[in-house]
């Protein structure tokens, strides 16, 4: 468990960020910035990501600053109706739990997380979606069928992937196509 962040870090670490999917090919950042970036999903606070990755608070703040300057991420903000839909309160942390990000054990992950991870590696929206297609072309269709995955879109897919063979196949396919294996730990 990381120590609580310093006060000046809290400003960033309790905010939620999302990828812009507009990263310039020329942008070069330290590896730990990209490692942090790969977990940014628009629902988890930066502090939650720190804890999941066992990342020091200072390093996370540095990564956030680097990624913001590179226009790779933006702070996610909510309007009143978005934050209090139909009079009910949905806190970001609760929302993250609903999408599974706070409840994952070491052997499951959300399909959406894999899709976001792959898309974050591309320079344009359509290219990212086609990259996801190329990754899934490498996965034996039977493994997907066994998990009940027969169709998915790119934005709202909260299917939980559990099968160990499928987890391995996805990790291998991302490594082949994207150059980096998807890691769920």
């Amino acid at each position: 468990m990381n120590p609580l962040p310093e006060m000046d870090d809290e400003i960033a670490l309790f905010d939620i960020y999302e990828p812009t999917f507009q990263v310039d090919d020329e942008v070069a950042l330290p590896a730990y910035h990209w490692q942090f970036y790969s977990r940014i999903d628009g629902v988890s606070t930066s502090w939650q990501i720190c804890q999941e990755m066992d990342f020091p608070a200072k390093a996370a703040t540095n990564a956030l600053v680097g990624l913001l300057r590179a226009n790779a991420i933006r702070k996610r903000l909510w309007t009143y109706p978005e934050f209090f839909p139909a009079g009910g309160t949905i806190e970001p942390e609760k929302q993250a739990q609903e999408t599974g990000n706070s409840q994952r054990d070491g052997k499951t992950f959300l399909l959406k997380d894999v899709i976001d991870f792959i898309r974050s590696r591309s320079s344009s929206d359509m290219e990212g979606k086609l990259m996801v297609y190329r990754v899934f072309l490498q996965i034996p269709p039977d493994l997907l069928k066994e998990e009940g995955i027969t169709s998915f879109d790119f934005n709202s897919n909260h299917v939980e992937v559990r099968g160990e063979k499928l987890l391995g196949a996805i990790s291998q396919a991302t490594s082949n196509v994207v150059g980096v294996p998807y890691s769920w730990n």
């Binding site: 290219e127 086609l130 899934f136 072309l137 879109d153």
Partner: protein, 158 residues
């Protein structure tokens, strides 16, 4: 087969622009939110099919359109006949534009077939690789679909 994202994106751009190539009166097709589907694709009234092959691996790109959309294009081209034959000819012509533009772009790096066309009834015989990228393309209120079905790592042919 291993076509890169950029190459596939080029196919999409060419497909979106195929109406404009037929007549400057027509606007490009507007891509909508795609999906990835496994073994379940809905074909519309008429479908044009382009076969691709690269180093022994095969794939298909299909453009499937409803009659109403084809009639809209026939109208824009000043064609008064809107029967099944004209609609089938038109889908054939559209896919020919796509394949010839693609051939021009890709050269010998990718083998691109002369396109064929099918009616909705015939698409039951169409063999496609199981993993498909389905991109809706809109013109006014009409929606067609560009289907990219490439053979995966475990399917040398499709």
């Amino acid at each position: 087969m291993d076509i890169s994202e950029k190459e596939l994106e080029k196919f999409i751009d060419i497909s979106c622009g195929c109406f404009e190539k037929m007549s400057p009166k027509l606007r490009p097709l507007e891509p909508q939110e795609p999906t990835i589907e496994l073994n379940q694709t809905t074909f519309l009234d008429f479908t044009g099919i382009i076969e691709l092959s690269q180093r022994g691996r095969k794939g298909k790109i299909c453009l499937t359109m409803p009659e109403d959309m084809l009639d809209e294009v026939l109208d824009a081209l000043g064609e008064t006949q809107h029967d099944a034959e004209s609609q089938s000819d038109l889908i054939g012509e559209l896919t020919s534009i796509i394949s010839s533009n693609a051939r021009e772009h890709f050269g010998s790096s990718l083998s691109i077939s002369v396109p064929s066309s099918m009616t909705h009834m015939q698409t039951g015989e169409l063999e496609l690789a199981p993993m498909r990228f389905i991109l809706p393309l809109k013109l006014k209120e009409f929606t067609s679909y560009l289907i990219i079905a490439l053979g995966g790592q475990n399917e040398p042919t499709a």
